[in-house]
Symmetry: C2
């Protein structure tokens, strides 16, 4: 089973949490692809450069200067620090973004009511399965930054959850894939303040209820939508769990199934 | 013949020159590795972040914050823009830094009279020939940023001329290699202001004369030293030429031979 594991800003921004996560990651058996988000550094650098950060529904509006910053921070700083840290642990990590080897090609999101700027949505059919599987077959761990390209020379800022889902689905044509969304909580919670309220399993009917009663809202919606999209398109197993749980026999978390 | 081509800040900093160079690059026949330098953007970003840029003999003193900046700019911004631009031209470029796939491992330069900080000198024996040749064999063009790692988890800022030389020498165990240093002038000039004074060929005896009479000085010395090191260690051909000359039947420039 190939694991595609996504970590977000809560891991990337906290050196101690990140180091502990990477310690766990190298203990996993079997091949693995790591997808990472960006974190707060991009906002800090933007601020220092006098670029206003504009978020709409938790997504960064990406003008040309902001694209430069997220490219620097995600595909440069964060990606290469993780690659070097894994190399230091004896894991042959290979950091890349979507432009490298044509790994992930996106369509630029057309400006509707909101113009997100240089933001792209991955095109599944154009995913570079041969590039990723070459690395995996040769024993490298791909470490993917959420910067993609349009195939015509332009880089695009891309949601890391969506990158992870796209990679997981695309690689399902070659491998049995488990997609793991690591997360600041132990999984999807019925009551956000009650650790005992972990929802162990969500299927579509349950999801409809959870959305209707407001248990699932905000940024959790696109994450769970991505998870369902993955299971509907060939990914064998999808889990949303804590970033400290990937090594456990049973990582707990919330399993997403049809 | 595999070409290892190095471009510096004069190409990277000028969008028009870079685009024109990349137009030429994709016309070359046969496999190619591109190594790029950094350019002025790192200095600008450092300034905006309130980090003082300290250069000694043309080399950047790299404290921890400066390392973050050069990693961002070289391995993120510059590297990924070039990769995406080449992809847009139909060339399957694969951007990487020395940490990726263990491509280039360096030893941190020990603090002598001058402490350069997080600066590394590549270790030839630890170069990831298998990583680079895998990419080349599979039809990718490696695009290498001059950030390396020490194999223990730390990134290191590394001179791009030296990276190019190390890659050229290491790949000479597998390929016939030509190393091309692209440059802001047409080659090594006897009189810097006279385009007709191009020195077409330098051997060690001639080099000794040129150094003794001051024709070659400053930043040209490490570049030519790198060139001689390459020819002495198995690289078939080494040329220093203008960045507009790589496509010409005879790129002119200055050939370095024993």
């Amino acid at each position: 089973m190939l694991k595609v594991i996504k970590i977000g800003g809560n891991v990337v921004d906290n050196r101690e949490v990140l180091e502990s996560f990477l310690d766990d990651l190298v203990k996993l058996e079997g091949p693995c692809v790591l997808v990472h988000g960006g974190g707060k550094v991009a906002t800090e650098i933007s601020k220092a450069l006098g670029i206003e950060t504009k978020m709409i529904d938790g997504r960064r509006v990406t003008d040309e200067r902001t694209l430069d910053v997220v490219t620097m921070v995600y595909a440069g700083l964060v990606n290469k620090k993780i690659a070097a840290s894994l190399q230091g642990r004896g894991m042959n990590a290979f950091g890349l973004c979507g432009a490298d080897g044509g790994a992930i090609t996106s369509g630029r999101r057309s400006a509707g009511a909101i113009d997100y700027g240089f933001v792209g949505d991955p095109i599944l059919e154009l995913t570079g399965v041969s590039t990723l599987s070459m690395l995996i077959e040769r024993g490298y761990m791909p470490v993917i930054a959420p910067i993609t390209h349009d195939g015509k020379g332009t880089l695009l800022n891309t949601n890391a959850d969506t990158v992870a889902r796209t990679v997981a689905v695309a690689l399902s044509s070659v491998y049995e894939v488990e997609l793991i969304y690591c997360f600041e909580m132990a999984g999807v919670m019925a009551h956000i303040d009650d650790p005992a309220s972990l929802i162990s399993h969500i299927d579509p009917a349950h999801y409809a209820e959870l959305r209707a009663d407001g248990t699932v809202s905000g940024g959790m919606i696109p994450k769970i939508d991505n998870a369902f999209d993955a299971v509907r398109n060939g990914v064998k197993s999808v889990v949303i769990c804590g970033c400290d749980a990937i090594c456990k026999e049973n990582c707990g978390g919330t399993r997403i199934t049809l």
